[in-house]
Every structure is written in C-alpha cells, then in structure tokens.
Symmetry: C2
Subunit: 205 residues, 2 copies
C-alpha cells in the first residue's frame, strides 16, 4: 500500500461461469500495484464455480458492496459468467453510477458486449471484446479490434490471453505509467519482441 | 474429451501461497484441451489462500491422489506456495515416480528451483524459472533463460506472464501441435508480432 494516500478501491465481481483466468489475473495484478481489491460474488454464496470448474471463494457478496464507492469496477468474462454478472441488479446500478460519476469501469471477453453494452454504458465509446461477440458489441458501442482499448474512463479487452495486458492497463489508469512498469516487470510479460527466443545458458553445459 | 481414448490425467497441486494466476491458467488451459485435471491441495483442507489472497478450492487432497497414475504433474509457483509444495512428501514421491517412469512433469516460477531441483529430478536437464531463483536453480539443473523450456519429459517456465505459453506447451506435449493450436486460438494469445497494434473499426465512427 502507498503510505501517503489511501489505497484505490477496486471491485471485481464474479459469478458461476466466470472465466477464472480473467478474474484471477485482474485481481492479482491490481493487488500487486497496492489496490484494495474486493472480489464480490453476485451469487447467493461466496463460492463460485468458474468456467472449466475452477472454484474461487469471493471476499464478499455483491449486496455487501452496494454502498461502497469504488475507484474502478472491472468485470471478467466467461460464459455464462458474463450473463450472470449482467443479471445482477446491484452490479448494474453500481456500474451505471460509476459511469454517471465519471469513474473508471472495465470489462473483458464476453462482458463488454453482454454486460456493459446491454446496460447502455458504452454508447459512443470505442470498446473491444471477445471475437465472437463483436457483432453484439457493435450494437451498443463503437466496436474496435484491439487487445486493450481505453476510451475515456472505459477499458475493455478480448480474452484470457489479453488479460494481463488489460490488468496492467488498469494499473496505469489508476496509478500511472511508472507503477504499471514496476508491476509488469516481475510478471515476466513479453516485452521486446525477439528477447524470448534468446536462450542464455547460466552455467556450462 | 477425445472420443477414442481416455482423457489424459493431470495433477496440479496447490498450497497456501500458490500464485493463483499460474495455477488457474494451467488448469483451465489443460481442461480446454480435454484433460482430466485434478487440483489437489497439499494443505489439510481443500481451500487454499493463494499469493495475494486469491482463495481457491481444490478438487481433492493430495493424500487422495497418492495411488493415482498421472500423465502429467504440473507445479505452479508463488511464495511460499513453492516451498509448501516442496514440503509435501506425497507430492515429492509422486513426482519422483513420474521421473522414474519417464512421464511428464513440469513447474513454473519458483517451483523448478524450490521443488523440482531440490528433489533432484532436474539433474543434467535444461530448465528455467523465476528470474530471482536462477542461481538456486543452477545448483540442481542446467539453468537456461527461456520463457518455456522443454527437455525430455520436463517442462519449466518463468512466471505469471509466461504461464499461458507454458500451459499451451503442456497441451502440445500431451496431445500434439494441432491440439495446442486449436486451444491457443480462442485464448486470444499474442501470435504474429505487430498484429496486436492493428486496430480495425467494425462500424463507422
Ligand atoms: Cu511467481
């Protein structure tokens, strides 16, 4: 945690059918940056069964979060996780308030189309999403094919393989470029193309 | 699941302090390939508290798996997760049997050095790991700096940001290149350098 300012408060809602890769990378990377991340279940219980059977225990129920002010709300995808998030009225009103207040919100994979666009909070904004959902996304947003898209206070991304870039982009939005670089180094992300093909032997063979 | 052959059996052990990103990507990607993955806790209970507080519920306790024959055992990293895996005698004997039987085993992040090398199952083999652990790794393996290293029946990798490549490499080892390509497409991984910077607008702005 930063010593001079309170930690940024982040909400990551999860549901049965959430893509666990997307939830866990987002939570973990934001916590590495010092954010105070609440993983909140939109189900009746804390434990959710993610897509492909990965079982995660949330920190709170979404109903416990309805009065909290967040600096960022970030929705993971997965099917039917995205639809289950969309059907949470508490989450819908939290995200609509986030949009109305000019605060950050974000989604990845199926959730930009299935949740954000259907709630009407992407109108006139450039957004991306999981490839099979681009047509649905285009009905409620300016659909663009980028790995991570930032437009105003909205950050969207495409799928499991883009989640780490998405999470680092969220760190940059909350804390700036320097913190994003500080966090991404230890993650061993791909950076300079070609570096990953260089093999250095550390001791003699 | 493949219709003509039984699903490949995979063990992914987890512990308190496991890097949840590494565990969840490995499990999820292998399940996408059709593998029968058992997430097994080396703790006394199914629920483990991962590094950065991500809470995962395992499918089984490691003691329930001591008689099972696996096609692959893959260890996630994280601190102190890697040390907690190393201290599991059941896991140690499963991995040593895997090595003796010429079957696949794998580890990422701190686990190649902290678990595999300390068990003596990387001797004379090229392996990689989390950058700060390379010196420790070099005392029990031929330490190399690649994002994913395959040597014989051992696959090793570096950290959260290399886990998806690691998991796809495990799919390739178990099922072949065609299945690996089939699984990696929908993950929206980086492939052709430069593609990710091309933004296509799907509807007129
Ligand atoms: Cu790690």
């Amino acid at each position: 945690m930063a010593s001079d300012s309170p930690a940024k408060k982040v909400l990551v809602p999860i549901a049965n059918g959430t893509e666990a890769i997307e939830a866990v990378i987002t939570v973990d990377v934001l916590r590495r940056a010092g954010a105070d991340v609440t993983v909140a279940s939109v189900e009746k219980q804390l434990r959710v069964d993610g897509y492909h059977g990965v079982k995660i225990v949330a920190d709170a129920l979404i109903s416990d979060c309805s009065q909290t002010v967040f600096d960022l709300i970030a929705l993971p995808g997965g099917i039917p996780g995205a639809a289950n998030l969309k059907n949470s009225e508490v989450l819908e009103s939290l995200v609509k308030k986030q949009a109305a207040d000019g605060k950050l919100y974000a989604a990845i994979c199926a959730s930009p189309a299935v949740a954000l666009a259907s709630w009407g909070v992407l109108k006139g904004l450039k957004a991306t999403g999981y490839p099979p959902f681009m047509e649905q996304l285009a009905s409620g947003a300016i659909a663009v094919e980028s790995r991570v898209q930032v437009d105003g206070k909205v950050v969207t991304s495409r799928g499991p393989g883009t989640t780490m870039e998405f999470a680092v982009a969220l760190v940059e939005q909350l804390y700036g470029k320097e913190k994003a670089d500080e966090v991404s180094g230890p993650l061993v992300m791909r950076s300079n193309h070609g570096d990953e093909y260089v093999i250095t032997e550390l001791n003699s063979v």
